[in-house]
């Protein structure tokens, strides 16, 4: 079976890497699911959750991350997700995200609100 090696990289660190069977991410043109053998692709990511269905050494499972802006590129069985900031769902502090969401709502800061909402969403999916 074709392989899909995923690298989820934030500006200041490597967040996650491993084998996967399916990766779902949100691009500016809508959600996209990438499976092994996809055609070379380069898209712009929106702030949104990224779902990775893992296979291989890491075992079957799901990894969810909140990604804020960035890119998605796939070539030759290698998928790179570049994001300015990316957090794995289990790293997200739910209470803090909720607080941030309320603050953003109070200040009507749409992008901050969206970021906080995505964090919560990712944390909820993983649970």
């Amino acid at each position: 079976m074709a392989e899909l090696h995923v690298e989820l990289v934030a500006a200041d660190r490597k967040v996650w890497s491993g084998e996967a069977g399916l990766v779902v991410a949100r691009t500016t043109a809508g959600d996209i699911g990438i499976m092994p053998g996809h055609q070379p692709y380069l898209g712009v990511l929106e702030t949104g959750p990224v779902t990775i269905r893992t296979t291989g050494e890491t075992g079957e499972g799901t990894v969810v991350a909140a990604v804020h802006g960035g890119f998605l590129s796939y070539t030759d069985g290698k998928l790179s997700l570049l994001a300015e900031t990316a957090e794995l769902a289990d790293e997200i502090d739910v209470a803090r995200a909720e607080r941030a969401l309320e603050e953003a709502r109070a200040e009507t800061d749409a992008s901050a609100e969206r970021r906080a909402a995505v964090r919560l969403e990712a944390a909820a999916v993983a649970r």
Partner: protein, 309 residues
Amino acid sequence: MGAQLRVYKRRIKSVTATKKITRAMEMIAASRILKAQRRVNASTPYADELTKAVTAVAASSDVKHPLTTEVDRPRRAAVLLITSDRGLAGGYNSNAIKAAEHLTSALVARGLEVDHYVVGRKGVGYYNFRERPIAESWTGFSDSPEYADAKAVAAPLLAAVEKKTEDGGVDEIHIVYTEFVSMLTQRPEQLRLLPLTFSTSAEESAETFVKGREAHPLYEFEPSPEQVLNALLPRYVESRIYNALLQSAASKHAATRRAMKSATDNAEELIRTLTRLANQARQADITQEISEIVGGANALADATAGSDR
């Protein structure tokens, strides 16, 4: 105790105190180098992937973008100089400033106007003291820069590139920073950030010659190559600036460590010389005292011997 000896003792005490301080600073700098180095390494995967993506877009499409096309007759260039907020780092800041000056005169010779963008209090101080205009400056994060800082630095530069030259926009962006080669070597480095140049170094072109040109895969771009490039290039600039900031920070710590190490060594040397001098002074005091006592005793003996007779 003789006056001379007291002066030496006092100086030894003060140099010992200085030595303790410089030793502590050396140790702090040494531990910070490691941390800064780790951060440089941690930021590398992102920068690499981004460079790969930019190269892919630029190679596989004939997109014209203001950030990639070379202007026929460039009129204004921006030079971003990265220095530190604090001194005590040997030649670190002056080397970076010198490199920037060198670059500036080279650009002026090409007939360009130069706008200065400066990071770090030392660089700002240099330009202010000479009453030379600075387009924009940032201070306060040179020791441990965050990605947000790099974004803040990149924003006005990118805005300047997008503007028309007539309205004060720039055609080229150069960056001067200190490359962290190793613990012992840090080199001021200059780099043209924009317009982009791909694999220009001799080594790289030799590599493509040996390996044959790597075939670029035909990418599907979403939403369109232009828009992808539009979104990609500012991130690329930010990540290059971020990398330069991190490398400069690591270099600064390494330079501080070296400067403080030689200061500690000098203090040790000074203490050694002063101790010798103090010992000499003490011996001189003792010798003098002895000769005084002997002289006194002799005089007394002579006097009593005289009275006996």
